[in-house]
Symmetry: C2
Subunit: 275 residues, 2 copies
């Protein structure tokens, strides 16, 4: 079977940066998984002895703690500071932006609408920079159910890995019903590029393989884009591949989420070519 890679895929700027930061801080530990890719986290553990704290309670005085690419909630950061540890910030700058927007617009009495998944660490971090006047919606249906106070002014941000078309649905709904809506387009360009390339490739192949962590938001977005056009499968590594998916298929497209390292992509392509 022939294999074709999307014109843009894999590691984004923020993930590359976070890995470089981790690699230059041997023996440090990350606060939550640094990126959404277990294999890469295992590599950092094996090659650089980078540990992983799942909870702030595990952090000990004198530790070097790396803040994950998705950022952490404001209170967690305060608690870290009080623990007398060295804090290394690997929060993606594109995630710091919505955090700061929420902080500023909350101070200016805007009602904040975050388009994102309330359980995603990035969103948990971003929303922690606001107060009670923050609403997280995962889709337009959730927004439609909410009754807002009359004459509220709104500021909107999106989780960096969301689809821009869905964000427009959210903001258009607000614009038609409210007088003031400040729209901050916080969706990351790298995400756009990977999404556009995946969309184009999925239209010309017989089957698509989307590589990435099962908990990675941007990988799931890529999968949902590909699935609209062609039979698609989400895999974390070559062990997830199933031979029967490719029976009778001539051309297989491959893309990968922003946390997927090149060595995993390479392994999968080699396996696919054998089918």
């Amino acid at each position: 079977m022939e294999v074709k890679l999307a014109s843009s895929y894999g590691f984004c700027f923020g993930v590359k940066r976070a890995i470089e930061i981790a690699e230059t801080h041997k023996n440090a530990a990350t606060m939550g998984p640094l990126i959404h890719n277990k294999s890469e986290i295992n590599r950092l553990k094996d090659d650089f002895n980078i540990g992983l704290y799942e909870s702030i309670d595990e952090v000990k005085e004198g530790d070097t703690v790396i803040i994950r690419t998705h950022g952490i909630p404001r209170n967690d950061r305060k608690e870290l500071k009080s623990k007398n540890v060295e804090i290394i910030n690997a929060t993606c700058p594109f995630v710091t932006t919505p955090q700061q927007i929420v902080k500023k617009m909350t101070a200016e009495n805007y009602h904040i609408i975050i388009f994102g998944d309330i359980d995603h660490p990035e969103v948990k971090g971003v929303m922690s920079y606001g107060d009670d006047n923050v609403t997280v919606v995962a889709n337009i249906e959730e927004l439609e159910k909410i009754v807002f106070k009359h004459n509220e002014k709104f500021a909107t941000v999106a989780q960096t890995t969301k689809k821009k078309e869905e964000y427009l649905q959210i903001v258009n709904y607000l614009i038609l019903r409210h007088k003031i809506v400040c729209v901050f387009n916080t969706i990351c360009d790298a995400t756009f590029e990977n999404q556009d390339a995946a969309r184009a490739l999925s239209k010309e192949v017989d089957v698509m393989i989307v590589i990435g962590g099962k908990t990675s938001s941007n990988t799931k977005q890529l999968y949902s884009i590909c699935e609209e056009n062609v039979e698609s499968y989400l895999v974390e590594d070559e062990n997830d591949l199933k031979k029967e998916w490719f029976e009778g298929k001539k051309l297989c497209g491959v893309t990968a989420g922003a946390s997927t390292p090149d060595w995993i992509i390479k392994n999968i392509i080699e396996q696919l070519k054998k089918y």
Copy 2:
């Protein structure tokens, strides 16, 4: 022929208010036509001796000058003030809002996008509250031709009588390409209501008559909405009606722009019923 009136039509809040202001200031003069309806302006002249200045140069010391519903440019207002006249402000409050938004957001270094007709008095007034950093666009095609500086932040307002669907096109174009777009929905609710009612009625009749001034923006919007669904005609008064428009027609719909007084609508309906 049967005649059916739209469920919402004619005079809006701002026009009613302006006429009441004029009627309580006998012998005053308006700066520009008070509203976009010649017949009503003639009535105010005949019944209340309300004059009409086309240019500020005509204004004399001691005059009482009424500012038209569409507002006037900031410099004209300054010049009026320097002329030692009594100024009565009949600017529609829904027009004062975008003027104040442009003033505030210009001071905060936003690039202002006005969705409107650059020759319309309302837009001339609104844009005068900004500086060089104001761009007026009449449609999405005009916007697409403009190359903006990188990293600009935008604030958008719309002429109060514009179609909301077209405004969304403008703001969505900006949101997809720029990081910060503050959207002020300055389209007037009365305009919405008249538009929605005209749309509904035009789908159930054989022909539509849209009554209003030929220079009235909101009347032209109503006409363009009706025309999409059925044969439609724009008339200023009953003298514009042509018998042949109604040959073979059973049901005629009627709507009227926000500056159209009820007595003109009544005359037209009487004439239509005779066909």
